[in-house]
């Protein structure tokens, strides 16, 4: 991408005010978005994002600069401008950076790179999803399908001598359906994705995907409003893992922990969850949406056991916050693009399989809620308070799944919920999402098997 010489000069310029660490992140990112609305191709937007981010750390202070101009002059000027913020620029003879190229075996092999596939083939795949969405239920009034493809090449180099490249290819398909009965509208959607090329669309049963989304919309159209109360809740596998991601995951990132802005700061070794809970962040899972071969600081991604049998074992840590905490980084340094400095973020974060049979979990409940599909929500990482919407819910009565209900939301606190997970099933699956934080929006997986929370406040009418 850029030569060692140019990078070396840029790093040297960055250290010209006595910074102790400098890093260059070159980002060349092709994006393609196709939208099919009511069966017709509405838009085909593609573009190339390209830029270079330069980071300088002096003690615990940092400066970040970025530019699209990759000429030597522009890079060294940008580096010097950033360096100036940290101190006076000096002519330093002693800076000698020895860049050693390192090659990483790509853990996520790609078969069909998006640019090599004909657009007509992509549209054909989308039309399969669309027909699945509209051909099975008469209540479906609208369906939109979106195909997303990304091909990102990065080069990461730093003053410790690192010089390495990586390529990330991702594909994702979204389907949104609206079911209508003339008075009410209900939405049903699905959006699977992976760190894969076009071959991903051969692995998904696309018609079934569309039909599934439509079915959700139709079921909810005919559902009653959920009653309010504090009751046991069973959360289905896959995207149900978003509860752990929001309620606990962010609070385990060094981004908050390092400054004491987390409910879990200073608690390594403590029993913070029920002994049934083992939670892991694993960036190495082959071809998964949130995976990486190397993170955006150039470190190999890892499997990090965060919580084991309820005991807090580890945080997710990036280089700078690792310095603040006196702890080693864990391969979780991530950023949306060259426009952001990296910070610790999640990859594929999930609750591991437990020992309870799924049927036993449902059977254990006399009166409760089965949250089959979760929606969005928000969390205050400082207090740990969170809220979520349940997109598709069903009452559980006398050990069986009963009527569908809508309009349910779950509210609670991160510390509380971990202690209240008292049954963990065996059907671990993952759900894809985009996670937003101070280093931008990044792809992450959430995941879990079917779990039971013995008590949560369900907000309804």
């Amino acid at each position: 991408m850029l030569s060692k010489d140019i990078i070396k000069n840029t790093l040297s310029a960055a250290l010209s005010s006595k910074g102790d660490f400098a890093e260059v992140f070159v980002d060349d990112h092709l994006k393609n978005n196709i939208v099919l609305s009511s069966g017709k191709v509405e838009s085909l937007a593609s573009g190339r994002d390209y830029g270079i981010g330069i980071r300088i750390i002096k003690g615990l202070k940092s400066v970040y600069a970025y530019t699209n101009d990759d000429s030597l002059t522009s890079l060294t000027n940008t580096a010097k401008k950033a360096a100036e913020v940290l101190g006076n620029i000096e002519d330093r003879e002693d800076i000698n950076i020895n860049l050693v190229e390192s090659h990483n075996v790509n853990r996520h092999p790609i078969i069909f790179v998006p640019a090599m596939v004909d657009t007509s083939k992509k549209i054909d795949k989308m039309k399969l999803v669309y027909s699945g969405a509209v051909e099975h239920y008469s209540e479906i009034s609208q369906a939109t399908v979106r195909l997303l493809e990304e091909d990102q090449r990065v080069l990461i180099a730093n003053s410790d001598g690192l010089f390495t490249e990586d390529r990330r290819v991702r594909s994702r398909i979204f389907v949104n359906t609206i079911a209508s009965n003339g008075v009410d509208n209900q939405l049903g959607s699905r959006s699977p994705g992976a760190m894969m090329g076009f071959e991903f669309f051969d692995m998904v049963d696309l018609e079934e995907l569309g039909k599934d989304a439509a079915e959700s919309a139709v079921i909810m159209l005919n559902a009653d409003y959920c009653p309010a109360g504090r009751i046991p809740v069973v959360i289905e596998n896959g995207f149900g893992g978003v509860i752990f991601h929001e309620a606990c995951g962010h609070s385990l990132e060094a981004t908050g922990v390092a400054k004491g802005n987390s409910i879990f700061a200073g608690k390594i070794g403590e029993q913070i969850a029920s002994p049934k809970v083992t939670a892991i962040d694993d960036g190495t899972l082959s071809n998964q949406w949130g995976s990486l071969t190397i993170d955006d600081e150039g470190m190999l991604s890892r499997k990090n056991v965060l919580i084991e049998n309820g005991v807090l074992k580890s945080y997710m840590i990036d280089k700078l916050n690792g310095k603040r905490m006196g702890m080693a980084p864990t391969g979780n340094g991530r950023r949306q693009s060259y426009r952001f400095a990296p910070t610790s973020r999640m990859t594929n974060t999930y609750i591991a399989n437990g020992n309870d049979d799924n049927e036993d979990i449902i059977r254990s409940i006399a009166y409760g809620l089965y949250a089959r599909r979760m929606g969005g929500g928000s969390v205050n990482t400082i207090t740990g308070d969170f809220n979520f919407s349940v997109i598709e819910g069903y009452m559980i009565r006398n050990g069986s799944i009963d009527m569908p209900v809508r309009g349910a939301s779950l509210i609670g606190n991160g510390i509380e919920i971990l202690k209240n997970i008292d049954m963990v099933g065996k059907n671990l699956d993952y759900g894809q999402g985009m996670c937003s934080s101070i280093s931008g929006s990044i792809p992450t997986n959430v995941g879990q098997p079917l779990i039971r929370v013995n008590e949560i406040t369900v907000g309804g009418r």
Partner: protein, 450 residues
């Protein structure tokens, strides 16, 4: 490659490949932002970025794409993507590339002072802001952080029909978050100022306002649920109008996503209400001489005497509805296609002082903060249910501060229930161009304690 060289090569290749009309939209942005904590620079970001968005007609259909890389290879990839976009898109053929006009109005949206503003001066402003806040009151326990940002953007729109427009804009912003402690909780708020001109950034005033905001929340409690007469602060009303403004957009109206569809010429609000979109407003954060299609902008009323006069349009949406463009064709970002967007959108102030507004409240609630506006308010239905904070007003005087309440209702009902409009027009720093004076709303549903 410099932009001019890039553009010439791009146009040359486009013509050779059979594009009949084509246009490039170029943006060059320089930004710096400083985060200060404990009177020291904690983080700082400096950037320079540029991008080009190309659209062209080929065999009667329009395609588009963008790039942030400026070399010959990127031009080839860009044109290939654009041709594909044109080939497969089944959208209608109402896209227009504009030849230009003689009617552009000059606007002042660039402060030359930003060219000589050094990083050191910016750092000092952020540090002094934190210091000032602490000096003003010892009830302020600490400052979460203070921020200073400076942004310059140059835009060029050039096309094969002879359009050749350029503009340069500066935006500065500065803010601080003080924290006060009371018994068991922290009270906090933020004061931010955003302006085209450096001279509008007054550190002392920002510090005083920030401290006042926080201290006026001390000992806030909730209030009994019920329906109350409400005085919406200018900031809150502007923030609220900002979420609902998409109802004025012609392209969304076409898709059935506007509450005002089929309301042209009809009363939609109290007769006292006038709402205007003014792209040439002096010091307006959204002030522009031309929209992103190169069409000259002009001020227009959306609502006058409570009557809805018509939608905002760009070339494509106006053609679909058989009307003229209103010069409101904008992109969210250089890399996105043209949609319809407001410029400086506001409720026109009337000649009623804030004290007079207070005096006309025998018992009511002054709303000063709204939260959760992006999930709790739906512009398509107009329904909203939002977390809020404020103060009680009794016989024209502020009594106790309130928190932990929600206000709920519907946008159209609010427009019809506005009784009095004040004179204190303010543009909310978070909304880039949307503003309002303080207004009294006859009645809103407030949920608090039982």
């Amino acid at each position: 490659m410099e932009f001019l060289e890039f553009k010439n090569l791009l146009f040359e290749k486009a013509k050779k490949q059979g594009f009949s009309e084509y246009e490039v939209y170029y943006s060059n942005k320089e930004e710096s932002s400083i985060n200060v904590s404990d009177e020291e620079v904690e983080g700082c970001s400096i950037s320079s970025s540029r991008g080009a968005f190309f659209r062209g007609m080929i065999r009667g259909k329009l395609g588009y794409g963008y790039t942030e890389k400026f070399d010959e290879d990127s031009i080839d990839v860009l044109l290939k993507n654009v041709r594909e976009c044109a080939e497969f898109a089944e959208n209608d053929k109402d896209e227009i590339i504009f030849r230009g006009s003689d009617e552009y109005i000059d606007v002042a949206i660039f402060d030359e002072k930003v060219n000589t503003l050094t990083m050191e001066e910016q750092v000092n402003m952020a540090i002094n802001l934190e210091k000032r806040v602490k000096e003003i009151s010892n009830e302020i326990e600490r400052v979460a952080g203070s921020v200073f940002r400076c942004c310059k953007e140059e835009i060029s729109i050039i096309n094969s029909k002879g359009l050749n427009l350029h503009s340069k804009q500066s935006i500065l912003s500065c803010g601080v978050v003080p924290i006060a402690k009371e018994e068991n909780n922290m009270i906090t708020d933020s004061e931010d100022v955003r302006s085209i001109f450096l001279s509008d950034i007054n550190i002392d005033r920002i510090a005083h306002n920030a401290v006042n905001r926080v201290l006026s929340k001390k000992q806030a409690t909730s209030i009994r649920s019920g329906r109350y007469r409400v005085l919406m602060s200018n900031e809150v009303m502007g923030y609220f109008l900002n979420v609902m403004k998409s109802n004025f957009y012609g392209d969304l109206a076409e898709d059935g996503k506007s509450l005002f569809k089929d309301f042209k010429g009809r009363s939609v609000a109290a007769p006292i209400l006038d709402i205007m979109d003014n792209p040439i407003l002096g010091k307006g954060l959204a002030t522009r001489s031309f929209d992103d299609e190169g069409v000259p902008t002009k001020p227009k009323y959306l609502i006058k005497n409570g009557v809805f006069l018509g939608f905002l349009h760009n070339l494509k949406s106006s053609k679909k509805q058989g009307v003229k463009t209103t010069g409101n064709g904008f992109k969210g970002n250089f890399s996105s296609p043209i949609k319809v967007s407001a410029t400086n959108l506001y409720i026109e102030p009337k000649n009623v002082s804030f004290q007079s507004l207070l005096n006309s409240m025998e018992f009511g609630i002054y709303i000063t903060d709204l939260e959760g506006i992006h999930s709790g308010a739906d512009p398509i239905t107009g329904d909203f249910s939002l977390s809020a904070q404020g103060r009680i007003i009794e016989n024209g005087v502020f009594t106790r501060p309130i928190k932990q309440i929600t206000i709920a209702g519907n946008f159209l009902e609010v427009l019809r229930d506005i009784e009095i409009v004040g004179d204190d027009l303010k543009f909310n720093p978070y909304t880039i161009g949307v503003g309002s004076p303080s207004v009294i709303v006859r009645e809103l549903s407030i949920a608090g304690e039982n």
